[in-house]
């Protein structure tokens, strides 16, 4: 009962935050566009049309066409699928790793905790994107490898947050009481610790999605992204750069898509943080 009202009051606080609402709506719109957009569009993302290459936006091609006559709107919509999928899947992988790692460190505590957190400390200083680049070079570009490379590198922040949260929860009276009543570890972990850590986890997850989208576009830009004819927003932006002088509109749409989605997820994440942690004052 108490839990429901906690989530409900968080939802209420979230809805009162206009930035977060706008961000949330844009996120929903982007997801909808990514799922349904390519179906509705009369064009495919790989079909060339040499009669209509490098055309500006028009009624038949809202976002124009590229150098092979492919419809840019369709490609941006497909790009949304790939970029959002990278954001979500990579973040989920990093959440699973981070929560498990941080959770174990925090719950077991003692020497295990010290050793595990020292590992996190050590990796924390290394610029992660270098690792990702290295992994992508070694394991060849491709969607699956992007998921894995990003997911396996970006979990450190999550591990730290979860570990801190678990450490402080573990010491609280209600957990102590539960333990005194003879509750098992599983019950304590799932019923009390995880449910109380969910807030920070959701916030970190939401904020790590734009980070992953950004990292993916960066990788695509230096040629380590998905391979043609598939294209993420980063690939589209990179392709457009070479023709920027003659066809600036080609950069505009993927660039706007990346920036707007980063903006939206950041708004939503900030809003969620404020809503889920009432004590946190901005």
């Amino acid at each position: 009962m108490a839990e429901i009202s906690l989530w409900r009051s968080a939802a209420r606080r979230l809805c009162r935050n206009p930035m977060a609402v706008v961000g949330g709506c844009i996120v929903l719109f982007l997801i909808g566009a990514a799922i349904f957009g390519p179906w509705i569009s009369p064009y495919s993302y790989y079909e060339n049309d040499y009669e209509h290459t490098n055309e500006g936006p028009s009624w038949s091609h809202w976002f124009g066409t590229d150098y092979l006559g492919r419809d840019q709107l369709t490609r941006v919509l497909y790009g949304a699928r790939i970029s959002l999928a990278v954001g979500v899947v990579a973040s989920l992988i990093s959440v699973v790793i981070g929560v498990t790692f941080g959770g174990i460190a925090g719950y077991v505590g003692g020497r295990t905790d010290a050793v595990m957190m020292r590992i996190v400390d050590i990796f924390y200083g290394i610029p992660l994107i270098l690792f990702v680049i290295l992994l992508m070079v070694v394991f060849q570009p491709g969607l699956k490898n992007i998921f894995l490379a990003l997911g396996f590198t970006y979990w450190l922040a999550m591990a730290r947050i979860v570990r801190g949260q678990v450490l402080s929860l573990k010491a609280q009276d209600f957990v102590m009481a539960e333990r005194a009543l003879g509750a098992s570890h599983t019950r304590i972990i799932f019923r009390h610790i995880i449910s109380n850590t969910l807030g920070p986890i959701i916030v970190t997850l939401t904020l790590s999605i734009p980070e992953a989208i950004f990292a993916e576009s960066f990788l695509s830009y230096i040629g380590l992204g998905v391979s043609a004819p598939l294209a993420s927003w980063g690939t589209l932006a990179a392709d457009a750069t070479s023709g920027i002088r003659a066809y600036p509109y080609m950069l505009f749409f993927p660039a706007a898509a990346i920036s707007i989605s980063m903006l939206a997820f950041n708004f939503l994440g900030d809003g969620l943080r404020d809503a889920l942690d009432p004590r946190h004052i901005r």
């Binding site: 290394i126 680049i133 290295l134 576009s217 960066f218 230096i222």
Partner: protein, 308 residues
């Protein structure tokens, strides 16, 4: 204090060792990698590599050998450029990247901190909202997009500044702007938040109550404390600027290390990729630790909870 410094330096050594070990492992894991005989590599370079990496020796010997070379600062030959060593490439390109990076960091700080303070002083007024809106846009636009837009508008359309190249002062302006965009916005947000936090504290109210001039309160009392979070962000900031320079240098055709790195990635010039990774990794980790030490001197409170 000394113990803490020593601990951090020990940390540094471990991290660098891990970076070197990972790069070594990866170099040997790459299918079609530098040591694959199927791959076409110029005769001279192949002979070089075989001599250099002692491929006939057992793996652990190769590893120790590699480690020893890197410790001495020798990162090996390039795979695509005959007769060039990774060291030469770094020596050639890094000063340019470093200068560009330094200017970008400086711009982010010198512009971001004052704007952040200003925004905090105008808290919840339209100036504050405008600054925050721009800062949010700033952190949401990736550097390569900002760079391309700058090239297009100021370089090609308005022709105010050169769109590419390296050498003159004008040529630094646009890439430095592109590179500092994100960190500038981030520092603005950080400064504003921490300034708001500090300005609400009791000792500021005390100072105000006893009639200290507003300017003195601002600079001597508030800013001194509000700047601390910005200092902690310096490490990540430097890292962001250097990794950002990979694409920004490419867009502006700056012959720096960043552009070279991207070209090497495209060419799969593994020894250069790994060498530059080791170099940047070491550099940035060292920077991080330096920043931490500076922070410790600035904020005496930090020493008390070093014990964990």
């Amino acid at each position: 204090m000394l113990g803490y410094v020593l601990k951090r330096v020990g940390h540094l050594v471990i991290v660098i060792w891990i970076i070197i070990t990972i790069t070594f492992a990866m170099m040997h894991a790459i299918p079609g990698g530098p040591f694959d005989s199927e791959r076409y590599v110029a005769e001279e370079i192949r002979a070089h590599i075989e001599a250099r990496y002692r491929l006939d020796e057992p793996l652990y010997k190769q590893y120790l050998d590699y480690l020893w070379h890197v410790v001495q600062g020798d990162l090996g030959p390039s795979l695509t450029y005959e007769g060039r060593r990774v060291n030469d490439i770094i020596k050639d390109g890094f000063p340019k990247s470093a200068l560009l990076g330094f200017i970008s960091v400086l711009v982010s700080l010198l512009v971001g901190v004052p704007i952040g303070v200003y925004s905090a002083l105008k808290h919840n007024r339209w100036q504050d909202h405008t600054v925050m809106l721009m800062a949010i846009v700033g952190v949401s636009v990736p550097s390569f997009i900002l760079a391309t837009l700058l090239v297009y508008y100021f370089g090609l359309k308005l022709q105010w500044l050169p769109a590419a190249g390296w050498g003159s002062v004008q040529q630094i302006v646009l890439p430095a702007l592109a590179l500092s965009g994100f960190s500038l916005a981030f520092i603005t947000r950080l400064t504003r938040a921490s300034m708001l936090d500090v300005m609400g504290q009791d000792y500021i109210r005390t100072a105000q109550a006893k009639g200290v001039a507003q300017g003195v309160i601002l600079f001597r009392h508030a800013l001194k404390n509000a700047i601390l979070p910005v200092v902690t962000y310096l490490g990540p900031l430097i890292a962001a600027v250097f990794t950002g320079s990979f694409v920004v240098e490419k867009i502006f055709s700056i012959p720096g290390l960043g552009q070279f790195f991207v070209t090497s990635v495209a060419n799969r010039d593994y020894t250069v990729i790994l060498g530059v990774t080791v170099f940047y990794g070491t550099l940035l980790v060292t920077m991080n630790i330096l920043v931490d030490l500076v922070y410790m001197f600035l904020d005496p409170r930090i020493v008390f909870h070093k014990q964990d």
